[in-house]
Amino acid sequence: MIRKENRKKLYSGGLALGMMMTAAFGMSAAAEEIPTIRFAHQDTASSEGMQVIVDALDGYIASVADRYIVEQEVVAGDDLKTKIATDMASENLPDIMWYWGAASDAGNMIDADLLITVDEFFEASEKLSRESFKAPLWDQTTVNGKNYCLPVDNLESNWVVNKTILNELGIEMPKTYNELIAVSDQINEAGYIPLAMGCKGGNPGHWWVDQIYWQYEGAREELLDISESWNVDTENFRKALQVVSDLKEANCLPQDTIANGDWGPYWALFTEGKALFSWSWAGGIAGIGDGFEWELCDMLKVDETNADTSNLSEPYCGAGLMINKKSFEDEAKRAAIVDFVEWYCGPEFQAITFINDGVVPTLVDCDYDVSLVDPVVQEVVSRNSTREGVLTHMAAIPNASVWADYQSGLDEFIAGTMTIDEYVDYVQNSLESNRE
């Protein structure tokens, strides 16, 4: 028995050593023959629709395996940022990344000259050019006048209203925030929540707050000016925050905006039939089901403004593919990178993500079988495609640290643990201390 122990020890020690050597050897061997590119993204097969998308991705990678190998590195959600941050710090940035392209997230990579501009990519690509993409989609990821991100993550959003609740309570659908406040008590007494909204890590709260802010005259210009002025403390902004306060005081929001924050929980309040109003992306709206009667509606109007909410939408196009400069300049890898990016941004894959996840194609020419598209998604997209798009602070704030503070403070403000003054001061302090 003792001899066995000895043998076991040697065996496992040898095994460990062998594995290490094989791993090291394996890595170098692969690099010699055909190029390997590392692609970091956050698509996981968490639902049936996503499964189709993941299969399509895997399918393409398998089909080009004789020319180049794609290693996928997948981290879902915002923690992809953690992974990329670590990779970046250890000088191990992936070759291609699906990432958020605004200065608030990719600013440091752009400043450190780690990425190529889209124009450099277009020079090398024969299938795609700047004009291939819809023009307004470049706005949310423009940094210092240039674009480093090929937009693919275009989402359209819409408000929804629960008609069953309206009928049950015998009330007209509110069109403005004051009208909502007026019926708030009645809704709460019946056990429902007027507006399903939450805020954890800034989501989805900051989207909603900017819908309110945007309606004020001059807000648009202020927002676009932030990268120059490093200032958010404007009268319009404070007025918008006041609207939020009023709603909170009138019990229009859920009690627990933190637990109901982030993309899943607050939406569940609506899909479970517990809320009168909510807001979400097309893909989410398509998943409501038939537990109750509902319909799409315009965002609520802020009474003291002159905004026309029937002409407002809040699209998102702040993420897409970004390419590592060093990898692109590597002759051996460039062809592979171009080919893969062309496919990923190309009409075939974009049609698949549209049909299965409601991600709107960003190409001007993108054919897809309309009959395969979820009718709800189609309706949301066509409804919003001609409207003016609200921009958010996410596209305007030029620094990651400030953006993180903005979101964190917003959590507190919406949860009711910070006053308007405190929140604005908090963000201003952050702007001042991080000013470059």
């Binding site: 003792i2 122990e5 000895n6 020890k9 496992s12 020690g13 095994l15 460990a16 594995m19 290490m20 791993a23 090291a24 890595m27 590392r38 970091a40 956050q42 996981t44 097969a45 968490s46 639902s47 049936e48 996503m50 499964q51 993941v54 290693e71 996928q72 590195e73 997948v74 981290v75 879902a76 959600g77 923690d79 953690t82 992974k83 941050a85 670590t86 990779d87 710090a89 250890s90 000088e91 191990n92 993309w263 899943g264 929980p265 939406w267 569940a268 899909t271 479970e272 979400s280 992306w281 893909g283 989410g284 998943g287 537990g291």
Partner: protein, 288 residues
């Protein structure tokens, strides 16, 4: 005389009743706490069979229909089958590694050449918060050309459990009777053989304890797996389950199904090695 006997009999009976009552009360209190520890497991397991609406609407009841869709989605779509075997490999390999390293080092501290300063040095590892060293560690791996490899993760796991293992094993080995080792030496064993033939086998309980704790730590780790080794086919189960959170709706049933799948091996390992763990902690870490 019989009166006295009666009295004693009565008193004994009273004591027995009293201790019966005490026992019942004790069992009730213990039972209540045990219930609170088991309820979350029950919730996770049951939720995996339910639809989302049921999870919100009737959280603690049994599912209407036992649907296994969530499990299938988690297993196939979430890639849990692959990451399960990955994690089993990483954890087993790192446990083997850490036990090899710490048993020899602990034996040195316990029996060969105790060295307070060096021991304190190793114990330092208990104080280090993981996130502080995450980036420097990755930089080191990158410089060594080990970024995104299995071995990098295995070594990281082993090293992060090294201090704890040395702590447990040293305490245990200190209590091993010197006479046995001396007897081995007299029989002609070298120092190494004394370790391998006598000390190592005798330390089974402590090895089980350290091994199980190390296994559980590796199994549940999220950040090391995420940063060192997020390549799809090398993913840990912790990362795979974490990735089940979707973008629009939290399909809680898929998430809880994933969590259930993740819990099972940890619980199995724990149950298997329970006895030894208890022994290890009992006999060993006594004298500190």
């Amino acid at each position: 005389m019989s009166n006295q006997k009666n009295q004693i009999g009565k008193r004994n009976r009273r004591i027995r009743y009293k201790s019966c009552a005490f026992l019942t009360v004790k069992l009730i209190i213990l039972g209540m706490f045990a219930a609170t520890t088991l309820v979350p497991f029950f919730w996770v397991l049951m939720s995996s069979f339910k639809t989302n609406s049921e999870i919100y609407g009737q959280p603690f009841s049994l599912p209407h229909h036992y649907q296994i869709d969530a499990f299938l989605q988690a297993w196939q779509g979430g890639g849990l089958s692959r990451s399960l075997s990955n994690s089993l490999f990483y954890c087993a390999a790192s446990v083997v590694l850490v036990l090899l390293l710490s048993s020899t080092t602990s034996y040195r501290f316990a029996k060969i050449r105790p060295n307070k300063a060096l021991y304190a040095f190793f114990s330092f590892g208990l104080l280090i918060p993981l996130h502080a060293v995450l980036i420097p560690l990755n930089v080191i791996y990158s410089r060594l050309g080990m970024g995104n490899t299995r071995s990098a993760l295995i070594i990281a796991y082993a090293v992060s459990n090294l201090s704890m293992s040395i702590f447990i094993l040293t305490a245990f080995m200190r209590n091993l009777p010197d006479e046995l080792l001396q007897a081995a030496e007299i029989d002609g064993c070298s120092g190494l053989q004394a370790f391998v033939r006598v000390a190592f086998p005798l330390s089974k309980p402590a090895l089980a304890t350290a091994g199980m704790l190390a296994f559980v730590n590796c199994w549940n780790d999220l950040l090391l797996g995420m940063t060192i080794c997020s390549k799809e086919n090398l993913r840990t189960i912790s990362l795979a389950v974490y990735n089940l959170r979707a973008s629009f709706s939290d399909d809680y049933n898929v998430l809880t199904a994933g969590i259930t799948i993740m819990i099972v091996p940890a619980v199995v390992i724990y149950t298997l090695f329970q006895e030894q763990v208890i022994q290890g902690m009992t006999a060993g870490a006594l004298k500190g």
